[in-house]
């Protein structure tokens, strides 16, 4: 049981506290309800670039990392489709430095051209390092716009292209910040060796004086129902053919989400997963194959991707993947198999929650979904999934006319 208390400030900031006295540290997690989904389709990548700018100092704190490092702390952040999440850990009696730094940059940051220009270069190098200069790195840049025609999940968080990042000006960054960064659009969770009372006092002292700012979220167009299968074939300078296949599934808040999470584990959880045991071990068609769900808040994707063995055609590989997926629609799943994926979920849940930082992140995220208490109900919800629910979800969603397929072929195949 992960206990927490919750309160709010008048400016709208929500604060949650989980006390864990078994550690000398405290973790502070600050989630902003803004991600790449909130971007203008003509200026993608700005949410993530802004995350970089948040580390470039303010009027009061010229070098963001310095005071925190001085306090023995460490911090980082990530941006995804839905959220931008900042986090730090620090010896518990220096936690106030974290409150100071986070409240200071929530108040406002440095939008200078110099800082922005350097961070644009850094992000462009990140773009190259992760997406362009890696074998198969651009598959995400290809698969998303194939699967989504309309919803903003159609571009990756790093941005659609380098030219979008290049075009961002200081005033765009400033506008995006004031449009989305505000106490009322943030969730602060503090965990570790600290009492709720002290968190309340510190939150009131540092975040209390911040003005309530109105955010201006845009309405994100829903993805229309897909009625025809989509295919894309590309050739690249890679040594081995690869297959990517995606299906639209439900959103994070729907009941089917848990079913899909287990379903993806039936397919690819560990080496006993169906895809691995049938297509890697028995039939020797793939060298690696994996499946995951995107876990986005709005309806996301189930993605299967694998690298082909020598001599295997992409058609043969794809047919076999489809067969394994179709088998789920029969609902024939042994008790052992259901028990296995539930045990795996329970283990990963418990192990992940041995860390105060993970607990703080999870609590913030569940609060964003509408109920932080979900963190304690998860195991139960997964346990409640039946083989019939897996069957029904597979029948409802995992059809060809709801799928997008990318054949990522080697130019000099072998």
């Amino acid at each position: 049981m992960i206990d927490f208390v919750k309160f709010s400030l008048r400016n709208g900031l929500r604060i949650l506290v989980h006390e864990d006295r078994s550690t000398p540290l405290s973790a502070l997690n600050l989630l902003y309800g803004v991600g790449s989904r909130d971007e203008d389709p003509e200026m993608t990548g700005i949410a993530h670039l802004l995350e970089h700018l948040m580390f470039c100092g303010t009027e009061n704190v010229p070098v963001f990392d310095r005071p925190l490092q001085m306090a023995g702390g460490e911090n980082n952040a990530f941006t995804n489709n839905d959220i931008t999440n900042y986090y730090l850990t620090v010896p518990a009696d220096n936690i106030e430095t974290g409150f100071w730094l986070e409240s200071d940059r929530m108040n406002g940051i440095n939008f200078s051209r110099d800082a922005l220009d350097v961070q644009k270069k850094v992000v462009i190098e990140e773009f190259k390092q992760r997406y362009l200069n890696q074998p198969y790195g651009d598959s995400q840049l290809l698969l998303r716009p194939l699967a989504y025609t309309t919803h903003h999940y159609k571009w990756p968080t790093i941005g659609k292209s380098i030219s979008h990042i290049e075009s961002i000006e200081p005033e765009h960054a400033r506008d995006f910040f004031y449009r989305h960064y505000a106490p009322g659009n943030a969730i602060l969770t503090v965990s570790g060796n600290i009492s709720p009372d002290r968190v309340f006092k510190l939150a009131d002292k540092w975040f209390g004086p911040l003005e309530k700012r109105t955010t201006r979220p845009q309405v994100i167009p829903a993805e229309p129902f897909q009625t025809e299968e989509r295919n894309l074939i590309v050739e690249r300078d890679v040594p081995v053919d690869a297959l990517y296949k995606a299906w639209h599934i439900c959103g994070r808040k729907e009941d089917d989400f848990f079913t899909f999470d287990l379903l993806s584990d039936l397919l690819a959880g560990g080496e006993s997963g169906r895809l691995h045991s049938k297509l890697v071990r028995d039939k020797n068609l793939f060298s690696d194959i994996n499946a995951y769900i995107s876990s986005d808040i709005d309806p996301g994707l189930l993605v299967i991707h694998g690298k082909l063995m020598k001599g295997v055609t992409i058609t043969e590989a794809e047919e076999n993947v489809r067969m394994v997926v179709d088998e789920l629609k029969s609902g024939i799943i042994s008790d052992e198999e259901m028990e296995k994926v539930k045990n795996r979920f329970e283990s990963s849940h418990v192990i992940s929650n041995t860390s105060i930082l993970n607990k703080a992140m999870n609590i913030s995220y569940y609060e964003l979904l509408g109920n932080p208490g979900l963190i304690n109900l998860e195991v139960e919800r997964y346990r409640a999934v039946s083989r019939e629910m897996v069957r029904d979800a597979a029948i409802k969603y995992l059809n060809n006319n709801n799928s997008s397929t990318l054949h990522y072929l080697s130019k000099n195949r072998n």
């Binding site: 001085m70 850094v122 192990i351 860390s355």
Partner: protein, 424 residues
């Protein structure tokens, strides 16, 4: 009151903490088990360590393939059954073969402990190396190898270790496509028979320890015949490459991977804690000189870091970054500039204070919770060092002077002795 007017909170001195007491027991056949108790959840992490790393191998891929085949079939179970059982108990496992050691780490809920340990004992000591699974695994590995050859990071790192340790030593030997053909199951069976023995195994258990852990371990691991004691590994010498600057071409690469460094002292040397501090200043944290200069001022890279690492027979230091092709020369020049600055100008008080606090905070994190504690324990245990190592490290972090750092920079960062690899 507005937020701008508030003064920064004061900072309390950081107590780096220390390694928790480790309870060491010995199983019936002599296997040492080190136990670190702690945590709030009913979870354990168990690490099985064998002196069966690449340093022991006679031919390339022998150590790693033996390790990877552990889950591919044993006397009692097929490959399929082993994986179904591990996954069925919700055990997360990670096989690994490093340079000096090999083995596996498992994370598990305590209620599955007995069954999981029984299974691990089976694969550690009764593996069969079936031909069919071996062929599939080697095919998979070859495919992965070919993909990794497309990454400038891999190309640069491999060449780096080859140049600093030499192609004759397992620390520096590069794997080639032919090595995948040459290996057979007899190589693995021989390696397994020599090195996967109770006499060559140590166990580290951490977490909220199951009360009858000793009984369970004794029943399944302690009952095996101990086997012959450890045989000596490959004793060949390091042969440094005479050429200091090497370019590994990679057609069409958009970025180049830079690796600069050399072999150096390891954890057993009294200068090592000081070298750690120096390395942190240079490139060991986000506020480091290399990060500030090459990322935050110039934007040449997404990240640059410098590491001082320890192996059993040597240590090494390495600076690594992936940079824009156009900025390679400038980035390298800046790296050398930062090194020579450390050799000429004493580190300023403010910066040193910052690094002292940052590193003390790192130590708090190293000792936070049973799993981190287990990793920190292993990091000294495998060098036959005592917990005293961390006291010395903490002392050095607190007291090292700018003059001492200047001296270390000149002693260990002689630019003429550094190797410079660029792939791209």
């Amino acid at each position: 009151m507005s937020a701008e007017k508030m003064t920064a909170p004061s900072i309390n001195p950081i107590n780096p903490g220390s390694l928790a007491p480790v309870k060491s027991i010995v199983l019936g056949n002599g296997i040492p088990v080190h136990i670190i108790e702690g945590g709030t959840e009913d979870v354990m992490r168990i690490e099985f360590i064998l002196r069966a790393g690449t340093v022991m191998e006679n031919i390339p891929l022998q150590a790693s393939s033996t390790n990877m085949m552990l889950t591919e079939g044993s006397e009692k179970y097929s490959s399929e059954e082993i994986k179904a059982l591990l996954d069925g108990y919700g055990v997360f496992y990670q096989l690994s073969a490093e340079r000096d050691s090999a083995g596996l780490i498992i994370y598990l809920l305590n209620r599955h402990a007995e069954k999981a340990i029984e299974l691990i004992a089976e694969i550690l000591f009764n593996s069969m190396f079936p031909e069919k699974e071996f062929v599939i695994m080697m095919k998979k590995r070859l495919r992965r190898f070919m993909i990794s050859r497309e990454k400038v990071q891999t190309l640069a790192s491999e060449k780096f270790f080859e140049t600093i340790f030499g192609n004759n030593h397992p620390y520096g030997k590069m794997v080639s496509e032919n090595d995948f053909e040459a290996l057979n199951t007899d190589h693995l069976k021989n390696f397994y028979a020599s090195y996967y023995t109770p006499a060559n195994l140590s166990v580290i258990v951490s977490g909220k320890i199951n009360e009858n852990i000793q009984e369970i371990m004794d029943k399944y691991l302690g009952s095996k015949l101990p086997g012959t004691p450890l045989q000596a590994g490959n004793e060949s010498d390091f042969q440094k490459c005479p050429q200091k600057r090497i370019h590994v071409p990679k057609k069409g690469a958009l970025q180049s991977a830079i690796r600069i460094g050399s072999a150096t002292i390891n954890k057993r040397h009294p200068d090592y804690p000081g070298l750690k501090v120096l390395n942190t200043i240079l490139g060991g944290y986000f506020g480091s000189r290399l990060m500030k200069n090459i990322r935050e001022e110039k934007g040449y890279t997404y990240g640059i870091r410098s590491v001082a690492a320890s192996l059993n027979l040597s240590g090494y230091k390495i600076i690594s970054a992936e940079v824009d092709n156009q900025s390679v020369r400038e980035a390298i020049a800046e790296i050398y500039r930062e090194i020579s600055k450390l050799q000429k100008e004493p580190v300023a008080y403010d910066e040193l204070e910052l690094v002292r606090n940052y590193m003390a905070g790192e130590m708090v994190r190293m000792f936070d919770g049973p799993f981190s504690m287990a990793e920190s324990f292993r990091a000294i245990w495998e060098f036959n060092l005592e917990a005293d190592y961390y006291r010395k490290l903490a002392h050095t972090v607190r007291t090292i002077t700018p003059d001492e750092l200047l001296h270390l920079a000149n002693k260990y960062y002689n630019i003429d002795e550094l190797y410079e690899i660029v792939a791209g």
